[in-house]
């Protein structure tokens, strides 16, 4: 890597993540850059979440390297990392029936914001995130009273409120109806169009084809392909990755059944 001008974005090189005896991710190399929406695809247990957690330093890596803008992620203080990268984990439990605005404001944690005393840039960022996710009307509502679709928007707004240049979302549309899947993907697309770089774990290849600029395919802890949808998405790939029979014609994807 060029020492003078390190590549922008999140970069993982030969990353290996282990848990006890098991190797969850082996020698994974990928890059997440501003202005690009990447879909991370792979069957359950392929190691997608472990790859993400390892790449952003939430799980210690066994070997390899990962960092943001050339800086080793393992040496970055959590708050500085959080100002560069917002992370939306797969499990999003809310411990308390907090109001929507407070949950969104937690996205400003790394900027030093304290709930109930938002000032200046923090307050503006929270208002922008609420507006972007169409949550202004719900801002004072308790999150315990929201529907699944509304909650998904709250979590997106929480991630956007950080105003970090990078976003990693682990299954952001799981358990959402088709309408809300589009809503959330549109929000992520808008974030990328504004100059952000996003990586989302998706299970719906059709949805991924519609939104993503790049596909990273994973199986058995390895990245098996990384490139544009046109380059990497094929009927053979669907069979190899998921064990399903599918048809790919241009931008149209159809999954017909198990192989």
């Amino acid at each position: 890597m060029d020492r003078q001008r390190p590549a922008r974005g999140l970069h993982a090189r030969d990353l290996t993540v282990t848990a006890g005896e098991a190797t969850l991710v082996r020698d994974a190399t990928f890059r997440l850059q501003p202005g690009e929406l990447t879909a991370l695809l792979g069957p359950n247990g392929a190691g997608k979440t472990s790859l993400l957690r390892g790449a952003i330093g939430l799980t210690p890596r066994a070997s390899g390297w990962a960092g943001i803008d050339g800086e080793d992620i393992a040496r970055m203080p959590p708050r500085r990392r959080a100002r560069q990268l917002a992370y939306l984990p797969q499990n999003r439990p809310l411990a308390w029936p907090s109001p929507v605005r407070d949950v969104v404001a937690l996205g400003r944690f790394a900027h030093g914001a304290a709930l109930g005393r938002l000032r200046g840039a923090d307050r503006r960022a929270v208002e922008r995130a609420l507006a972007a996710c169409d949550l202004e009307r719900l801002a004072e509502r308790s999150t315990a009273t929201l529907s699944g679709g509304e909650l998904a928007r709250v979590h997106c707004a929480r991630a956007f409120a950080a105003e970090a240049p990078l976003l990693i979302a682990d299954e952001p549309v799981a358990e959402l109806d088709p309408y809300h899947q589009f809503t959330v993907m549109n929000l992520i697309r808008d974030f990328v169009n504004r100059g952000g770089g996003a990586l989302a774990v998706l299970h719906d290849v059709v949805l991924a084809r519609r939104y993503a600029d790049r596909f990273i395919w994973m199986k058995d802890g390895r990245i098996v392909a990384d490139g544009t949808p046109a380059e990497t998405l094929s009927a053979a790939r669907l069979g190899e990755i998921y064990g399903v029979r599918g048809r790919v014609e241009g931008e149209r994807v159809e999954i017909e059944g198990p192989l």
Binding site: I56, L58, P77, P78, R79, R80, R81, A82, R83, A86, Y87, L88, P89, N91, R92, P93, L94, A95, W96, P97, S98, P99, D102, V103, L106, G107, F109, A110, A114, L115, G116, R158, A162
Partner: protein, 327 residues
């Protein structure tokens, strides 16, 4: 909210004053005020400044420590049923204190008692926090707390069984039942540094408790240093609870009840619940202790007994209100 907070502070001051006013020797307000300001009859001064005031402040300090520890542990474990008493932390602190009494170590130095209680409390809190790393289920943690309490109880019973003389037996029973009777400013002074540091640590790290609302993974995602946060709460709650137990023995449930009342008033934010919970828990214990003193019983009731009689049903009620979906 600001008005509520001011009202709470005023209520605390009023309760502390009432504790100086009320008691077996009736006294007018002027005499109490005079004694507090260092004037008036030496007999009044003895009663007010050397007996009633330190007792009231002890009750308040113990309540504040338990209330803040309860609120902080609830934030850390993300469950409204967490509390030093329920998690076995108080019992472990009490075991430390009775152990110091049993082995006669307490006679060596006035610092031994609080130190022993704090070692017990931090051991208990650390065990719970360590278990919390391995399981997300708070039911498991509370069961571990039950185990710790039982163990500490059995060990204390063993020491009572083997108690060398009735005096040390009475001393130990005092600690196990919980009381603030006959505490002096000197006693308070030996626990005060631990209480102050413990509460200081809890308040300094309270913002991380807000972040934990999102769950541990998302909290690390927004920039929380999870390990440091856990360690701070374990240390802070351990010091505060240990200091409180060294002063007053085991006083349970106040650390659950106070935060439970405060939480809806602060938008369920654990960080903002810390200080009001401390004040309210202090207020509750000062009032309960006034009740204990005024109750026309032959021997004075123990504050810890009364707190449990009121607090335990409240605990059961709060537990029954919980929807089973959480875990």
């Amino acid at each position: 909210m600001r008005a509520d907070f001011a009202a709470l502070v005023l209520a605390c001051l009023a309760a502390l004053f009432a504790a100086c006013l009320l008691g077996s020797t009736p006294m007018e307000i002027e005499r109490v005020l005079g004694a507090l300001l260092g004037r008036g009859d030496p007999g009044d001064q003895l009663v007010v400044v050397h007996i009633r005031l330190p007792r009231a402040i002890t009750a308040f300090a113990v309540g504040a420590a338990l209330g803040a520890s309860g609120a902080a542990l609830q934030g850390l474990l993300r469950n409204p049923l967490a509390e030093p008493g329920v998690l076995g932390v108080s019992a472990m602190a009490s075991l430390g204190a009775t152990g110091a009494l049993y082995y006669g170590l307490a006679a060596l130095s006035a610092w031994v008692m609080p130190a022993a209680a704090i070692v017990g409390a931090i051991t208990g809190t650390a065990l719970i926090a360590f278990a919390a790393l391995r399981t997300a289920s708070v039911v498991t943690l509370i069961l571990i707390g039950v185990g710790l309490s039982s163990f500490a109880g059995a060990a204390m019973n063993l020491m009572m069984n083997l108690a060398p003389n009735p005096f040390s037996l009475a001393d130990m029973i005092n600690w196990m039942l919980g009381s603030v009777a006959n505490r002096s400013f000197l006693d308070l002074g030996f626990s005060a540094p631990f209480l102050a540091v413990g509460l200081g640590v809890l308040f300094a790290t309270r913002r991380g408790l807000s972040a934990l609302t999102l769950g541990e993974e998302a909290a690390s995602g927004v920039g929380l240093n999870l390990r440091r946060q856990r360690l701070s709460i374990v240390l802070g709650a351990g010091l505060a609870t240990g200091g409180a137990v060294a002063l007053a023995g085991v006083i349970g449930f106040v650390g659950i009840v106070a935060p439970h009342i405060i939480r809806p008033m602060v938008n369920h934010d654990p960080a903002r619940s810390l200080l009001p919970s401390a004040l309210l828990a202090g207020l509750i214990l000062v009032l309960a202790d006034i009740g204990v003193r005024l109750m026309p019983t032959v021997t004075e009731l123990k504050l810890g007994v009364v707190a449990a009689l009121i607090g335990a049903p409240a605990f059961v009620w709060i537990a029954m209100q919980r929807r089973s979906v959480h875990d």
